[in-house]
Amino acid sequence: MNERVADLRRRSVDAKATVSMERARLMTAFYRNAKGLSVPMLRARAFAYLMEHKTIVIQDGELIVGERGPAPKASPTYPELCCHTVEDLEVLSSREKIPYAVDSATTQFYEQEAIPFWRDRSLRDQIFASMTPEWLAAYDAGIFTEFMEQRAPGHTAGGGQLFRKGFLDYRREIEEELGRLDFLGDPNAYDKREELRAMSVTCDAIIRFAERHADLARELAAREADEARRLELLKIAEVCGRVPAHQPRTFWEGLQAYWFVHLGVITELNTWDAFNPGRLDQHLYPLYRQDLDAGRLTDEQAKELLECFWVKFNDQPAPPKVGVTNAESGTYTDFANINSGGVGPDGSDGVNELSYLVLDVIDEMRLLQPSSNVQISKKTPDRFLRQALRIVRKGWGQPSIFNADAVVQELLRQGKTPEDAREGGTSGCVEAGAFGKEAYILTGYFNLVKILELTLHDGVDPRTGRQLGPHTGDPRQFADFDALIAAYDRQMRYFVDVKIQGNNVIERLYATEMPAPFLSVITDDCIRKGRDYNDGGPRYNTSYIQGVGIGTLTDSLSAIRRHVYDEHAISMTELLGALARDFNGDDDVRCRLMDETPRYGNDDDYADDIMRRVFDLFQTAVDGRPNTKGGSYRIDMLPTTCHVYFGSVTGATPEGRHAWQPVSEGISPVQGADRSGPTAVVKSMAKMDHIRTGGTLLNMKFIPQVLEGDENLEKLLHLVRSYFRMDGHHIQFNVVSAETLRDAQLHPEEYRDLIVRVAGYSDYFCDLSRALQDEIIARTEQVAF
């Protein structure tokens, strides 16, 4: 990277996350005075108010401009969704991991203005007030989490339209739709009008936001002594004067246009998974080629612009999360995840020169954000995968690797057209979606292991003694393994029902109280339908429940089957006693359970068949059920950091796990249980039907020596290709030894820049909770022979 980029990168990495009160202050001021507006118009005018009044930032040396907060890494709050308490702010600023600095002015503002105004008004309070006692009891027990309790729906990514249209074009389309409204025949005409007008307001707002950057750039240019920088600032002014009002004409304009849209999405609401540019390499390619052919751009310049663009992502840490939401997703990363490769809408290989340039950028930048991934189809050249693996081998967990063909199949199965499926990809951690056309909302993690614990206690949570689930019988009376599975299934279905009932309320609260007109503008077919992103406006509307802990669940059931039912070596009474004692004084029993049980991840059908069985139960309990937006429920198998939280509320389990320890992560085997090498792991994982999910997550840990040299790299490539041939969805590697990680725990100051793969994202090892650090160390290291 050149000096400019190195400097921008350094500043970004060194900047500390802070809580900015600017957005909360503007929002409070706006809401105090807002009167007589429909909800969509209220939200649109609030957005316009922010865009008009928020601080505009252009930093020294920047080429791509714009911040969400008043400074890099100054993270705004969203009191209309979740109004932080003074205690929350104290926790945020004082917690050891993932702190956000909070100054006294912010605390004072919250105490005196924000909290009195937003108390009872914020959506979070309404959500919790609307939930049933059953839902609240399950939530408190850690059976599931709720994504929307402090962050807005938004799992979504931009489509090609972002690079083919300007907001003046969108506004014209909106006006056409307004002109078509039928107030005689369409009972929803009024709602549509308000929504469309709201969208139109946000188009003007984002154009105004860009113009304010153009103004500032001209001002700075007038004062700039350095001639080269003065010209750059004038160029920035020209670009911001052009996009996103108009369709971008150049590579630079394309990146800047996207960045304004990104800021619009994450300023309007604190959408989960920020936003991402979808098929960046494919969409930018025509602009890149035009510039190249016209002699306006060199590869060096394209790379510099991309790197300046990369830094912008890193400057936007996740909005400050608290409570369970922080426990399930404890990271600064906000999951903007850039896809490269894949296939084109016509099914052809999507890799182009820009895809390789993006890999160079990923390699050079080594930033937490944006996350990056490569989409590998059977048409993808080995060269592209090999190049990606060379970066993976360096050990910091990026880019992650996806099976583009499986992603397309998953989306087709959900009813997308082939073209929409192919323009899709994965965002967040591993979630498949039709980019630019789908709201694919993760609604919460689901603790599969806790369900087994309840099953073993007739619906009672042994941690609290509360009866949470239905009575499914005393497990000591179960005739056989099938009876246990039947009881498990009943418990699981009960809690899926509780979760979906809650979701159905929360979805409507967002649809009616918290529309997102800006995000709706850029998501097909919200304009055509006159409906909001949060109200079924997108072409596709999917709700996900994410299963966590299938490895621990499988091994637990395998242990019970083997020792209690097959061999009658341990009675159910003995087992329950040992679990209740957390194996205290039960070393022999625990050893037997751990070492003499067929374990998932070893290509052993005894265990893997159980995995298939419980996967099918969960999948069929959720898949295809209707949500409130005309779409369906689906499952994902991913944890972010929730496997640590779910473990912390779950007692000892029959595969020998001690109480409160993390459960298994993603679809990965239990940490340390896979002892038959990487091919066996991959085979076991592939026995799950990935195509019936919207994403699965497999992390493997290799010691660096196994991947040294060209030949070993080639074998890793074949390992990935083989997994994908068996329809595996995603694979990612940690290439760092446990020894190094242990040393990093002892001497964090020497490892400040050590980045590891956590689940669907990478993070600084030293920023992880101790429990998560220990969990990563415990994952099996694949050594080769």
Partner: protein
């Protein structure tokens, strides 16, 4: 070589295996599964699979007090079932199965049956051997072996006897016959400092290999002590305790000696 005699190859459908390892990276092309046959006619003190030397099962006592038996009788179909678990990886990578040991040639009938079955299942095969066997036992295998990984430990026969316990005459003769008959062979030299890392031995190896003509390449495998703890577990003395792993520059220097003879040489397997 009394061990192999008397066995009727086709009837031997079971044999002694001491390990099966998947995702083996250094024993042939692509992703491979390594099947270890128990028993070896040689007694090299640097052997990193000492549990493969005796033909019979042996108890290994681990540091934590647990015990494990190395060696169990497996039928050909059982071995194949295990090997074929990774077929998708072989197909993708051009890999396959490698029979190793011990020395698999010490169970020639079993090995032949394994190779024939592998061939019938379209698996690519390799055999890793010391080469110390009767030609009558080697010859029938040859049509079923895709690649021979063939050890040449020491060229001087007296030194070979001293370090391995057997003469190398038969080893050299078998290698010459194999290459003459068109077999694909990679020669491997486990380089053990103070044993066979002298210029004289390597030059002699180079001369010999060059004279064979048909050898694909030579792999120099640097000595390592990864097997040392196994000796303890078996209650066997490890006599090379002071020997150090050769540094990378040294390996380059030694490779250059072979290259002087026009022999394609690679460090590592």
């Amino acid at each position: 070589m009394q061990a192999g005699s008397g066995e009727v190859p086709m009837a031997a459908t079971a044999g002694m295996i001491f390990d099966i390892q998947r995702y083996a990276l250094h024993d042939g092309a692509g992703i491979r599964t390594l099947v270890f046959l128990k028993g070896c006619p040689l007694r090299c003190p640097w052997c990193h699979n000492p549990e493969g030397q005796e033909k019979q099962p042996q108890v290994m006592r681990y540091e934590n007090g647990t015990e494990k038996v190395a060696g169990r009788r497996m039928r050909v179909d059982e071995v194949l079932r295990e090997v074929e678990k990774d077929t998708v990886f072989y197909d993708e990578s051009g890999g396959g199965v490698t029979f190793s040991g011990g020395d698999p040639l010490l169970q020639p009938g079993f090995l032949l049956a394994l190779l024939k079955a592998s061939k019938a299942h379209d698996l690519r095969t390799a055999v890793e051997t010391s080469g110390y066997a009767r030609w009558e036992d080697v010859e029938p295998l040859a049509p079923f072996v895709g690649l021979w990984l063939y050890d040449l430990k020491l060229m001087d026969d007296a030194r070979h006897r001293k370090w391995t316990g057997v003469s190398n005459a038969r080893i050299h003769e078998n290698l010459r016959r194999l290459t003459t008959s068109g077999a694909r062979v990679i020669v491997r030299i486990p380089l053990v400092p103070g044993v066979n890392d002298d210029r004289e031995n390597l030059a002699a190896t180079g001369r010999f290999v060059a004279s064979l003509g048909a050898v694909g390449e030579v792999h120099l495998l640097p000595y390592h002590r990864a097997g040392m703890s196994k000796y303890e577990r078996l209650g066997m003395p490890y006599t090379l305790g002071d020997t150090l792993e050769p540094p990378a520059e040294e390996m380059q220097r030694l490779a250059a000696i072979l290259q002087e003879w026009g022999v394609r040489t690679k460090i590592g397997g």
